[in-house]
């Protein structure tokens, strides 16, 4: 169980509201987080950068994209195009997220320009402004699941199951992303965006949005000119019909776990997955490990897992096992938003850092 970090009350997930101010006041913002002990020599070896694994994976990535697009175009209008477009759409609409993520951290390749090129391509595919999201993700790492600080909290409490179920096909998320890009392209930023993106980057943010929107406009123009859905099936729509794997893995990262803690073992989930999902997801199923040590490249995460697993809660054994836990926890949170699933640590682990669970600081306005 589950002493709550704050008394029961409505949460304000915006980055400029009372929860944000309170997180700063009580020391939850930009705080020092728990880390498992790893000898420096071992960590240096794990952090080591190399281009090899990411080049191999990226050659395969482009081969799948090009092959899938070729089959989709060649067999368009027949059922034979379906398997090609299914592969293409998952590579486009799901693996874009992990490529965006790893190259955004700059850890996938050793060579900086390779990270930058794939980051830009993947940002376009995943419909994220490459400037905004670089900064929002930095905040996600600083203040993971701190209410009012983290812009990437996917399951806000109390959870809206239907909305998030619909997100499996990401119609809502993709549409919202497109509107955000369109708004940014007109030069407008929200107060949240202004909060975490430094002013010096605003010009780049607007430029990136304009480039993305120009490509979408060109795609629509080609679709209209050829009076065919095909251009949209290849650019833009895969973000909807191929995003199911991204959403499936993404929800496992933090859903149903703690908010407002400074120990990733309490708010993040590691899930064992099959090799295909691990390829699409670039090993982000080792998510506690990634949050504790973001310097470790995706290809070294399985090794890091072996090094620190005695200090971590037991991982979920499969995607299904992870979802059993997620849904049980979300069901409880619908009636008790303070609930979260707290895993038992093995005897070899250091105890959780949970001083904030016992804090009883009144929410302003409650």
């Amino acid at each position: 169980m589950t002493a709550a970090p704050f008394p029961v009350g409505q949460r304000d997930y915006s980055l400029v509201g009372p929860d944000s101010r309170r997180a700063v006041e009580i020391g939850l913002a930009s705080a020092e987080w728990y880390h498992s002990d790893v000898p420096r020599a071992v960590m240096k070896d794990l952090m080591k950068r190399t281009d090899g694994p990411a080049i191999r994976d990226t050659v395969l990535w482009f081969a799948l994209l090009i092959g899938g697009a070729w089959g989709g175009i060649y067999f368009w209008g027949t059922w034979a195009c379906v398997p090609f477009l299914l592969v293409y759409s998952v590579i486009y609409g799901s693996s874009c997220d992990s490529r965006w993520h790893e190259c955004g951290h700059g850890t996938a390749f050793r060579t900086p320009w390779m990270n930058d090129v794939i980051y830009q391509i993947a940002s376009f595919m995943v419909m994220r402004n490459p400037v905004t999201w670089r900064w929002s993700h930095a905040r996600h790492h600083t203040d993971t699941y701190i209410v009012g600080r983290d812009a990437e909290i996917a399951w806000m409490r109390p959870p809206k199951t239907l909305t998030n179920f619909l997100a499996l096909f990401d119609v809502i998320g993709a549409t919202r992303s497109l509107f955000i890009l369109a708004r940014n392209a007109t030069g407008r930023l929200t107060p949240d965006e202004k909060d975490f993106v430094p002013e010096s980057e605003w010009g780049k943010l607007v430029l990136a949005a304009r480039i993305h929107m120009a490509i979408y406009a060109a795609t629509v123009a080609v679709a209209l000119a050829t009076w065919s859905w095909l251009p949209l099936m290849l650019v833009g729509l895969p973000r909807i019909y191929g995003s199911w794997h991204m959403v499936m893995c993404g929800h496992l990262q933090h859903a149903g776990l703690a908010e407002n803690v400074l120990d990733h073992r309490l708010n993040t989930r590691t899930v064992y997955m099959n090799p295909i999902s691990r390829y699409i997801y670039w090993n982000m199923n080792y998510h506690i490990e990634h949050h504790m040590f973001p310097m470790v490249p995706y290809h070294a995460l399985p090794r890091l897992h072996e090094v620190i697993k005695a200090d971590l809660p037991p991982p979920n054994l499969s995607i299904l096992d992870g979802y059993r836990e997620v849904f049980a926890s979300l069901r409880r949170q619908k009636t008790d938003p303070e609930y979260f699933f707290r895993k038992t640590l093995p005897p070899s682990a250091k105890p959780y850092r949970e001083e904030f669970h016992t804090l009883n600081i009144a929410r302003s306005g409650t």
Partner: protein, 104 residues
């Protein structure tokens, strides 16, 4: 004229690595570059209050352990976002196997 403070022995830092050095309430990072030279900077990242000593030295870059921002530790120049503000650097001299950092 800087005041020279002994920070460590040369073999306290592996090549292409760094250590943390605390002095008078402040924290510094001392680097052993792959070419054998030694350098010193402020010990905390300019993006957030994070110690650089857990970061990764690659050539003449130090990568911050929190968000992978990078600095050239010879000049302190911010090289990769999210760091935008340069890192303060300090003069270093090596004498008889000891590394000294020059502080004002």
């Amino acid at each position: 004229m800087p005041q020279w403070i002994r920070a460590c022995a040369t073999d306290d830092i592996n090549p292409e690595d760094l250590i943390r050095f605390d002095h008078d309430g402040d924290t510094y990072a001392i680097y052993h570059a792959p070419d054998g030279r030694f350098y010193a900077t402020a010990g905390r990242c300019t993006h957030e209050d994070v110690h650089l000593c857990d970061g990764l030295v690659m050539g003449h870059l130090i990568e911050c352990p929190k968000h992978n921002g990078q600095f050239d530790y010879r000049t302190g120049e911010a090289k990769r976002s999210p760091v935008c503000i340069n890192l303060k650097t300090f003069p270093v001299k090596v004498e008889a196997g000891e590394v000294f950092i020059g502080l004002n």
